[in-house]
Symmetry: C2
Subunit: 207 residues, 2 copies
DNA sequence: CCCATTACTTTACGGGTGTTAACTTACACG
DNA sequence: CGTGTAAGTTAACACCCGTAAAGTAATGGG
């Protein structure tokens, strides 16, 4: 086999493959046990390699978590983009919002490291300023999809909003709060239909 | 005789005082360094006692954090109740909402252990079902203040809402999302006036 | 065919954690 | 005054962590 880039090496797999295994192993741990259970050694254990082997692919524990977040962001963006065709821009916006909520609800721990990281100032992600900036950039990608759908609604007259950015931001905040709060306090008597209510009110739909 | 290290030990009735010192020490650590830095030993260090001494007052580390949350909930409730007199129920609701946001923004890490605990399934608070229930109960206390203010608005005709519980819940979700998201991602270009926009929209004010 | 490189291994260091056990001290009471 | 009890102490157990250093097996170029 030719090695133009010299990537093929060891018994376990071809270079980048192990990196992916590490990321998905870490993701698995995150989903199952929360952020704290994603430790360097635990990831290595999960993947079936020795702990120091990880340093071939990641600078430190935080870099792994960052990679997990990257994947999660990509997945979220995909979910938001892939809501199907909707003749009515309002329907589309609603679908995007629902997709956002579905993602957050379906994988809450990943959602947390994406958007809740800064809370814990010293341990979790974003210790490095550059990392915070990168995370913010990725988050903006997801936000822009909401923002665009919102703008389309306003332009089409489905929404009585006037400032797409401000309106989309308000909607985003509402979605975030609903998603997180519902997962965090499942014992609360959540009214049915709350989701639609909140979306329609914040997006100023059907006004 | 006092110990060579100077701390007066074991006076009867000093017990409860030390308990408070532990709670406030833990609070201090939480505020400064995030939840992960509130470790049993660190708390003991902060208070100036030995780690095992804590077991006289708390069953385990989680119990300390729970006590911290209790105090924080009391403080939040007090802040929500103490928004001054307002002739207009809408003004009062707005003031309550602002107070909520102010609290969350001013002490984000405490806010997190109050409402964000369940995210991390295995480490943080609420491992015990009973603890989750207790936390939920405390949270309900704060929510009821919002709910009552909301109901007053509806009754007075300041709000076009119809279902006080549902409307208050939507507002709560919005407030939670705004507070947390703004703290979590400070780099985002937050529009000015977003706070009032969100409150008025979710509370259906000035209809 | 040899050898440098690469990717991984084992080993080990230095530290942290929650928690238990055994000891010590100070006070309260008979 | 002696003594029992409660509230502290120190010491220790058993784990976990991140990561650095050194060893080893496979690979591919010269």
């Amino acid at each position: 086999m030719t090695t133009s880039k010299g990537r093929v090496r060891n018994k376990r797999g071809e270079g980048a493959q192990l990196r992916d295994e590490i990321v998905s192993g870490a993701t698995r741990l995150l989903v199952q046990g929360g952020e704290h259970s994603v430790t360097l050694r635990a990831v290595a254990r999960e993947v079936g390699i020795s702990a120091p082997a990880i340093y071939q692919h990641f600078a430190d524990r935080d870099a792994i978590l960052f990679a997990v977040a990257e994947v999660a962001f990509a997945e979220l963006e995909h979910a938001l983009n892939d809501v199907g065709d909707h003749a009515d821009p309002a329907d589309r916006l609603r679908a995007v919002a629902v997709a956002y909520l579905t993602f957050a609800k379906h994988s809450p721990t990943r959602y947390q490291i994406m958007f809740g990281g800064v809370w814990d100032a010293s341990k979790s992600l974003q210790r490095t300023p550059s990392m915070a900036a990168d995370l913010a950039e990725l988050g903006l990608g997801a936000f822009r999809i909401i923002s665009r759908a919102m703008a389309d609604c306003i332009e089409a007259g489905c929404s009585t909003g006037t400032d797409p950015h401000a309106d989309a931001t308000a909607l985003w905040a509402g979605l975030h709060g609903l998603a997180q709060l519902q997962v965090a306090t499942p014992l609360f008597p959540w009214p049915s239909g709350l989701q639609s209510t909140l979306i329609d009110r914040l997006a100023l739909l059907r006004g």
